[in-house]
Symmetry: C2
DNA sequence: GCATGTGGCTAATGCAGTTAGCTTTCTGTT
DNA sequence: AACAGAAAGCTAACTGCATTAGCCACATGC
């Protein structure tokens, strides 16, 4: 019985590969053990159980998503920033649908503090984007919620195969993002000159 | 061994109750059998298995959602219709989170023809709403996708507990819906007078 | 009043996660 | 170099779930 040379990191990487190839629902200890060339209980030497493995994968995916979002903002301002964020997020989700799904908050039953921090970082990036658009502070929470709802709604419907019509989905996304930017800019303008009109 | 008097309908109703109380993930044959006061294999006399039971529940939930949406449109026109649809959908989802989740397309692996028809009906209602807003036919697919993405995105994030900030979620929703209506009206106006401006 | 079909049941199988406890291998100290 | 102990693998066993097979009893129809 030669040692397989596992480690918590390697187990998490294998789990990530499963999620990448077959989606979060396919993440089972059996699948990971098979990839590791190891019996299922052996995994418990490196990870506390399935929920812990899920938590590790989710943390990685949320961090990655936050990185993608932050990278899109880099060097851009005003509406360009939000548009770039939107496209970067969708591109990432389409390229790694399993990871995107694993980053959603309903996949892990009891989120750890680390996971909450990672999620907060992603939200912070979105907040920076709406701030760059001129949305005043007292509207930023609403604006961030609008951004998240819009982008997540579109991408999750698209990934779930919810768009049956043959019409170009890229066009629909551009349409949606344009409307979002417009609405947020208007909100900014509205509060920027509160009593003038 | 007195007969329990089950029927496919009754089994589906019990399944719906499980989904209502504990969410779609908690729907197991064991849970339904317990409610029915019956051994698990007995259920197979009335339903083909767990996937079939899920399909039945999903069909009911999608139909119900389409009804709610259609009911909101009743007697309303222009932007009022879409606003009413939005609030009716969110109200229904918050009142029956399990049913709303069960109505999503990723919950059933292989949707039946019936389920697709029910989904198409819901989409048709959304299309009627955007048409009432003056969105021209060649923009309606984009508009419907925007409506679905916006509403589903917001509601699913809210149900997943994704909104950590203490700020009023009702206000955020109104903000989002107002922006959506505005963007769709603008799209209608834009295509109504294509070359004038 | 019996024959039949239907609606229950128990038993058994397979697959998932998890725990316990054993053995082997690596490592680090003397 | 030898050995002690920790770390990493294993098998065995248990639980909960879905599913299938096959049995038995009730209810109905002739």
């Amino acid at each position: 019985m030669p040692r397989a040379g596992l480690s918590p990191q390697l187990v998490a990487d294998l789990a990530l590969a499963v999620v990448d190839e077959h989606g979060p629902d396919a993440l089972t200890l059996a699948a990971v053990a098979q990839r590791a060339g190891v019996a299922v209980p052996s995994l418990y030497k490196h990870v506390a159980g399935l929920p812990a493995l899920r938590a590790a994968v989710a943390l990685h995916c949320v961090d990655e998503l936050a990185d993608v979002m932050a990278g899109a903002l880099d060097g851009r301002s005003s509406s360009e920033a939000l548009v770039a964020l939107a496209h970067a997020l969708r591109r990432h989700a389409l390229a790694h649908p399993g990871r995107y799904a694993a980053a959603q908050s309903d996949w892990v039953r009891e989120p750890s503090a680390e996971l909450l921090v990672a999620g907060a970082r992603a939200v912070g990036v979105a907040r920076a984007a709406v701030a760059a658009l001129g949305v005043p502070p007292d509207r930023q929470v609403d604006a961030v919620r609008a951004v998240r709802a819009t982008l997540h709604g579109f991408v999750s419907l698209e990934l779930a195969g919810g768009f049956g019509m043959p019409d170009d989905v890229d066009v629909s996304f551009d349409f949606l993002v344009a409307g979002l930017v417009e609405a947020l800019v208007a909100a900014g303008a509205g509060t920027a000159r509160p009593v003038v009109g």
